[in-house]
């Protein structure tokens, strides 16, 4: 009805409730913004694309895990993942990620919580923590952040009421985008400093367009827990490229765990969508996450951002066609052409990594000394981190095709050189081998060694 649409259009935001900086419940926000809220709730839907989206797998509820539906298990689908992560919680359970509605449940009920005691820091990216942080810090989110980080997950959990929610991205008064995560604020400050920009503050210095990616960069990033206080840290002070990040870890001598089969000081990479996107032509062209994953759509007489955050392949018309006049079928084919090519390299780099792990294991079992194995172990660490960086990145190469291929190239070269050092002790690797110190002996109270967290 035209008259109705026109009135909606003139009055797009009827404020029926008063929102404050303490309003946590998205349903309350939804009273003022029903269109966004209805879409937000649809993130429960599970639809598969060729290489993304997610698939609903029925699950028989148990006491430990009451979920009736989960997403597909990646470790079951590709057992090489278990070899790569041997001795680490990820080997126990790693699944395809799904919509924002599940962020909290999937974290609480993952088997990784069973095989290892996880820290409260985890909540930063899976729960609505803005209000809890404020409360715990008496108004200072950094203080609250520190308090949450240090708790065991089981305790921190008591403070979590919602999955990622409106207040995590928006200012309640202006609805402007806002970065609420200390981890991102510190990470981007370190990154900008590496580029010569001092004291960067995204909330006052970023453009609106940048904020349309920064709010996502609060979570869709590589991270680690620094020191015994488990401070959530984004390792960007040398830059955001995979090799710059691994160089950072080498410098600080960090390991996530010690590989069970080989004894290598290994690193796990997680969902570096923000970092990869940053290397691609879309970022360079000013195209932000929200442009593709939350494109505008018309609801009644106005345009709203599609808060059903999901694979753009399920939404090609709005996500791509504004900028690319190709038919939907062609756009889909372009995404898949990039992804298929990417997966070819992924397969091969993965096989090489697993071959190195096998060779190392055999060498260790054959009685080679730590000194004899050091080079190969370091190369395993590097090959795996680089491989995992690309593997954990969820766009299957799309966000930055040339860069993803470059990282896989570096990974396979490291794997093959690792195999060479085992067969020929005189072989000189092309990267300098760094000695990684042993993990700290005393775990923080209530939390397992770093070796088992994440």
């Amino acid at each position: 009805n035209v008259a109705e649409k026109k009135s909606e259009a003139r009055n797009p935001t009827v404020r029926v409730v008063e929102l404050t900086d303490d309003t946590e419940d998205p349903a309350v926000w939804g009273k003022n913004f029903p269109a966004e809220y209805d879409l937000y709730k649809r993130t429960t839907d599970m639809v598969r694309t060729k290489h993304g989206g997610s698939e609903a797998i029925p699950h028989t509820p148990t006491a430990q895990d009451p979920r009736t539906v989960t997403s597909q298990s990646k470790t079951d689908a590709d057992p090489r993942l278990k070899t790569m992560w041997a001795g680490y919680a990820f080997a126990a359970d790693f699944r395809e990620e799904r919509g924002h509605a599940y962020t909290l449940d999937d974290q609480i009920f993952t088997q990784r919580q069973v095989v290892a005691k996880q820290p409260g820091t985890c909540g930063q990216c899976h729960a609505s923590v803005y209000v809890p942080m404020k409360k715990l810090g008496n108004g200072d989110i950094f203080k609250g952040f520190e308090a949450l980080n240090k708790m065991p997950y089981s305790e921190a959990k008591q403070h979590f009421k919602h999955p990622v929610s409106c207040i995590d991205c928006h200012d309640s008064q202006t609805m402007a985008l806002r970065v609420t995560r200390p981890g991102f604020i510190e990470g981007i400050r370190a990154f900008k400093a590496s580029q010569g920009v001092q004291n960067y503050d995204p909330n006052t210095m970023a453009t609106r367009q940048e904020m349309r990616a920064y709010v996502c960069g609060q979570c869709h990033v590589e991270y680690y827990f620094k020191g015994p206080e488990k401070r959530l840290t984004f390792p960007w002070s040398k830059g955001m490229k995979a090799d710059q990040i691994v160089a950072y870890y080498d410098e600080v001598g960090f390991r996530d765990w010690t590989h069970k089969e080989t004894g290598a000081p290994t690193l796990k990479a997680q969902h570096p969508e923000f970092e990869m996107w940053n290397q691609g032509i879309h970022a360079r062209s000013g195209v932000a996450c929200a442009d593709c994953h939350m494109p505008y759509m018309r609801v009644g007489g106005t345009k709203v951002s599609d808060h059903w955050v999901r694979s753009p392949v399920l939404n090609l018309n709005r996500a791509c066609q504004g900028c690319h006049k190709w038919p939907e079928e062609e756009l889909k084919a372009r995404v898949e052409a990039i992804q298929d090519k990417h997966l070819e390299l992924r397969e091969q780099a993965f096989d090489a990594l697993v071959a190195l792990i096998g060779d190392l294991k055999a060498a260790k079992e054959a009685g080679k000394t730590d000194a004899e194995l050091e080079k190969a172990r370091f190369l395993q660490r590097r090959a795996q981190f680089l491989f995992d960086f690309v593997e954990a990145e969820n766009s299957t190469g799309f966000h930055a095709p040339q860069e993803a291929a470059r990282v896989l190239f570096e990974s396979i070269d490291a794997s093959r050189q690792g195999q060479l050092t085992l067969r020929d002790p005189s072989f000189k690797p092309t990267v300098a081998v760094v000695t990684i110190p042993p993990p700290p002996p005393a775990p923080a109270p209530g939390i397992q060694p770093a070796a088992l967290t994440k």
Binding site: M175, R208, T302, V304, K325
Partner: protein, 150 residues
């Protein structure tokens, strides 16, 4: 108010406009190349300059062919602003066309881009109310093809 008009400086424009119509070379081009077309609204008259014919064809294929003519997008809606922008464009284009020295692939100046952006908002105010609440956002970043199919 359309953003574009606020950026143009009055005195400079008046001078430019006068020059555009009166000055020797520019004046000749203006008359010969049917420069008076600047005063009307018929898109075909923009295409009097063959260098505009690519844009003219692309406009004919665009979604806005039925809704908007050149001036709807390239001159601000406010009446004074409209003729000032035309005068400025007229001057600029006549000079450029006659003397040459403009690139083979023409590109919009920052000022004219702002005029266009203002015009989008002018016609679509209702639709984009919610999204523009936060301030700066470029329409043609996503809708580059509405005026000219690209």
């Amino acid at each position: 108010m359309p953003i574009g008009s606020s950026l143009l400086s009055w005195p400079l424009l008046l001078v430019a406009g006068t020059l555009g119509v009166a000055a020797g070379v520019g004046g000749y081009a203006f008359a010969y190349a049917k420069g008076t077309s600047y005063l009307g609204n018929d898109p075909a008259t923009c295409a009097n300059c063959h260098v505009m014919s690519g844009q003219y064809e692309a406009w004919q294929q665009s979604s806005h062919h039925a809704f908007a003519t050149c001036n709807d997008c390239h001159t601000p809606a406010a009446p004074v602003g409209k003729y000032l922008t035309k005068a400025e464009n007229g001057y600029h284009h006549s000079m450029a066309f006659t003397i040459g020295g403009f690139p083979d692939v023409i590109r919009a100046r920052a000022g004219s881009r702002e005029v266009v952006e203002g015009q989008c908002r002018h016609c679509h105010a209702a639709v984009v109310d919610a999204m523009t609440a936060g301030g700066e956002v470029s329409c043609i970043r996503c809708h580059a093809s509405v005026g000219h199919l690209r």
